[in-house]
Each structure stands twice: as structure tokens, then as C-alpha cells.
């Protein structure tokens, strides 16, 4: 019996095959970009206020409201507890309401985004918590509103850290979004799984993964650069 580790029809890098699948690869990359371009900004847009809220209302925050904080904190934990597949079904009514279908790239972006929001909120909360108290104190002394403290002080000081967190999240997302394949979301990760896992076309999978690595590399390098440029502490 041959080794089942390398299935029988494993091939070395076969450029013909890659060329043949090129339109599919382009489509898959397009789907991944679509997921990224919708889900990441939405997660940042919704996760940031949520994270700020968690920070502000926490027992040591700008406006401690411990009881309410505990409720929202639990809600965030609840959202973070769902395995992706279960989240996917749990929010089917929402998905159908928003995109009119539950299958395909548009549909899978909904659970991916909902998954990313509380995740990013935790990043925001963590980054704000790590800022020193001096600047907040100065702003309070100047009679800043809480909104001003958040916008003009905290977010400004935390910006490099937030960029770093967005980078971490985006990179995680690129590989995580392979789960989109469950409901036909496609994307390059799913493409890699389809050819690598289901069809043992190692060469094709290999090529898809190289594309993913390039994408991840670009995001990581871009994110690191941007964070460093924005960081004026050195």
C-alpha cells in the first residue's frame, strides 16, 4: 500500500495546471479581497466604538458603569464563544435580511464580519488600557468631554497600536476566511483547501498558499510600516 501521506496523484509544481486554473485563481483572489475589503473596515468601524465602550465603562475607565459593563462584556464574550459554523447558522436570518441569500461570498461576509467585530473590540479595549493615565488626566483637567478624550487623546495616542492590531486581525482573517468555503464563499483559502485537501492537487494548493503568503506578507509589512510611521514616541 502506498503511503497515504502523499496521495497517489500528488504532482510536482505543474505550471500548466496552474495556468489552466488561472481564471479560478483570479476569481478566488477577488473573493478574498471582497471579504477583506468589506469585513475588516466594518469590524474596525463597529469594533472600535464597542472597544471604546468596554474601556470607558469598565470599573477603572472614563465613566465607570460596572453593572452595564458586565452585561456588555458578557455579550462580547458570548459572540466570541461561537464556533464559526454555529455562528454562521445562528445568524442566518440576519444574513438573509442583509444580503438576501445565505450562500456565496456576500453571504459569508456577514458571519465573518460579525466574528471580527467583538474580536477587534477586544484589541481596542486592550490598546486603550495600555495607554498611560497621564494624557487622559491632562485632558480631564482641560475640561474635555468624554468624546473628546476618546477621539482627540486616546485614539490619537493608541493609533500605532491599533494599526498593529488591525494588521494582526487582517492576517488572521486571511487564513480564517478559508472557512468561507463552507457556504460557497470561495476565496483563495478555500481554493487551496479544495485542491489540496479534497483533491490532493498539491501543486495547485502550493501555488494558492504562495499567493496567500504573499498577501499576508504585504499586509504585515504594510501594517508594520504604517504603525511605525504613525508612532511618534521615538
Amino acid at each position: 500500500m502506498p503511503s497515504p501521506i502523499l496521495p497517489a496523484n500528488t504532482t510536482a509544481l505543474d505550471l500548466n495546471r496552474v495556468a489552466e486554473l488561472w481564471p479560478e485563481i483570479v476569481l478566488a483572489m477577488g473573493q478574498t479581497f471582497a471579504m477583506l475589503i468589506v469585513a475588516i473596515p466594518l469590524a474596525v468601524l463597529a469594533g472600535t466604538p464597542l472597544g471604546i465602550w468596554l474601556y470607558s465603562m469598565s470599573p477603572h475607565g472614563l465613566k465607570p458603569r460596572p453593572r452595564l459593563h458586565r452585561v456588555v462584556d458578557s455579550l462580547v464574550n458570548t459572540m466570541r464563544s461561537f464556533p464559526f459554523l454555529i455562528l454562521l447558522i445562528a445568524i442566518i436570518p440576519v444574513t438573509r435580511f442583509i444580503v438576501g441569500t445565505t450562500i456565496g461570498t456576500a453571504a459569508v461576509i456577514v458571519p465573518l464580519t460579525i466574528n471580527a467585530i467583538p474580536y477587534f473590540a477586544r484589541f481596542v479595549e486592550q490598546n486603550l488600557t495600555q495607554l498611560g493615565s497621564g494624557v487622559v488626566e491632562a485632558a480631564r483637567a482641560m475640561g474635555a468631554t468624554r468624546g473628546q478624550i476618546v477621539r482627540d487623546v486616546l485614539l490619537v495616542e493608541a493609533k500605532p497600536a491599533l494599526i498593529g492590531s488591525i494588521t494582526i486581525m487582517t492576517v488572521s482573517f486571511i487564513s480564517y476566511s478559508a472557512m468561507a468555503g463552507l457556504v460557497g464563499g470561495g476565496g483563495i483559502g478555500d481554493f487551496a483547501i479544495r485542491y489540496g485537501y479534497y483533491r490532493y492537487e498539491t501543486a495547485v494548493m502550493f501555488f494558492a498558499i504562495v499567493l496567500m503568503i504573499v498577501l499576508v506578507q504585504a499586509v504585515q509589512i504594510g501594517g508594520t510600516r504604517l504603525a511605525r510611521t504613525l508612532d511618534k514616541r521615538h
Binding site: K63, G134, V135, E137, A138, A139, R140, A141, M142, G143, A144, T145, Q148, D152, V153, V156, E157, K159, P160, L230, D231, K232, R233, H234
Partner: protein, 263 residues
């Protein structure tokens, strides 16, 4: 006018209480400059932070221009603070904003319009002689430059009350003189009430109308600066006498020989 009535501040660390400010009462007339001196750890910064309730006193009342701050709600207190400028011992500048932007921020918080902000921030930076560093981030500034930005930030809003925590600790005599001159000027012109915590006696002597001496959280002595000129005046407390004398006399017995060696 600032009126501090029977204010105490107790810090609790790991179960043990530490009284940083101990039943202090102090009336500071409107438009006057109040010096606060005392040894390190005497509670000067804490008392200063008690005035604008950055550190809410454990007990006692603080009122500014007749308004009891300790009785105000969050929103009213916030508004009241627009009239109270503060210079921090550790500057507390925003690292990711330039000098200019740091100053503009306090103007923004005070509700000043955008165009006006730019102008007044530039002006304030010029007063502390640091206009050339307007576009530098704090990390690129020297200690004294940072302090000057912090001073500009507090002065730009033209507050009614100015709380200064060692405002000239990091700057040279010339800058000190120009900062004090400015404080003294606006104090005279606008009737700003100023409280200065400092350990530099020449600052007190140059600018304060009255000086309060703190020791271990308690207010132990107070006298008008005019008294100092009165022949025969001596502070009542030992610490007062000590602080008032500016000279540092070291036991330099050991030095005589050394000086020879490298003369």
C-alpha cells in the same frame, strides 16, 4: 478666589491608608499668586490636584470663584475646568501630536474655533520662546522644551485660575524668568488667580504674593511675601526657615585637597 476648606486626601494601598493631604484650609484671593512649598512628598501636588478635583479629596470642600466644585455634577465640573489651566509636574503631553497640536488641543477642548486655535497656539508657543519647535513631536524635544509646551498649553486658553506644578523645574533661569514674567503679566492684566507649587525659592520670591508651607500633608505656616522684606522677619516654623534660605551648604572639607590635585 479659591477656597479650600478642610480638605483631606487619603490614599489606600493594599489596605493601608496614607494621608497625603491632611485637613488643609486655604483661601486664595482672586488675582493673587499663591506659592506652595514643602519637602518632597509633602502633598503639594496632591493638594494642587485637589483644587480642580483631578484627585477628588476624601473630605472637605473646594470652591473656585464662589462655585463649590465638590458639589458639581460631572458635566458642570467639566465646564468649570475650562476656566482652570494646569501645568503638570510631568508635562503629560500627547506623544503623537506636535507641540503646536498639543497646544491647539486645549483650545479645542475650551471650545475655541479652528482658525483662532492656530493663531493662539502659535502665539502661546512664541511666548515661551519655542515657536521654532512648533512642528516637533515631544520625543524630539528637550526636557525644558517639553515643559515650555506644557506651559503654553495651559496659558493658551487664558484661564481664570492657573494651577502650576513646578512649572519651571526643567527650564533654565532665562526661560524661568520669561515664564514667570508672563504669568505675572496676565495675572495683573486679567486678574488670574495662580497657584504655584515649587521648590525653587527664587521663583517664590520673584512671583508669589503669599506662600503656604506644607509638611506631611498639613499646612504648617503661611505668610505674605511682603513680610520677607520686613527687617527681622523669620518664618515661625523650622521648615519655613529652611526653605526660605536658598543656599546649599555642603560639607566640603574633603574637597580642599582634591581641588589642589587638579588645579
Amino acid at each position: 478666589m479659591i477656597s479650600i476648606r478642610d480638605v483631606s486626601t487619603v490614599f489606600t494601598t493594599a489596605g493601608t491608608d496614607f494621608t497625603a493631604v491632611d485637613h488643609v484650609s486655604l483661601e486664595i484671593p482672586r488675582g493673587s499668586i499663591q506659592g506652595i512649598i514643602g519637602f518632597s512628598g509633602a502633598g503639594k501636588s496632591t493638594l494642587l490636584r485637589n483644587i480642580n478635583l483631578l484627585e477628588r479629596p476624601t473630605s472637605g470642600r473646594v470652591s473656585v470663584d464662589g462655585t463649590d466644585l465638590t458639589a458639581l455634577g460631572d458635566e458642570e465640573l467639566r465646564r468649570a475646568r475650562h476656566q482652570i489651566g494646569m501645568i503638570f509636574q510631568h508635562f503629560n503631553l500627547l506623544n503623537n501630536r506636535t507641540a503646536q497640536q498639543n497646544v491647539e488641543l486645549s483650545l479645542k477642548f475650551a471650545g475655541v474655533e479652528k482658525k483662532e486655535r492656530r493663531r493662539r497656539a502659535k502665539e502661546a508657543l512664541a511666548i515661551v520662546d519655542i515657536a521654532d519647535k512648533a512642528d516637533s513631536y515631544p520625543a524630539r524635544l528637550s526636557g525644558g522644551q517639553k515643559q515650555r509646551v506644557a506651559i503654553a498649553r495651559a496659558l493658551a486658553t487664558e484661564p481664570k485660575v492657573l494651577l502650576c506644578d513646578e512649572p519651571t523645574s526643567a527650564v533654565d533661569p532665562r526661560t524661568t524668568a520669561s515664564v514667570l514674567q508672563y504669568i505675572s503679566d496676565i495675572n495683573a492684566q486679567l486678574g488670574i488667580t495662580t497657584v504655584i507649587v515649587t521648590h525653587e525659592m527664587n521663583v517664590v520670591k520673584a512671583i508669589a504674593d503669599n506662600v503656604a508651607i506644607l509638611e506631611e500633608g498639613r499646612l504648617v505656616e503661611r505668610f505674605d511675601l511682603a513680610e520677607l522684606d520686613r527687617p527681622g522677619f523669620r518664618p515661625a516654623t523650622e521648615i519655613g526657615r529652611y526653605l526660605i534660605s536658598d543656599d546649599i551648604t555642603l560639607d566640603r572639607a574633603a574637597r580642599a585637597t582634591k581641588e589642589l590635585s587638579h588645579a
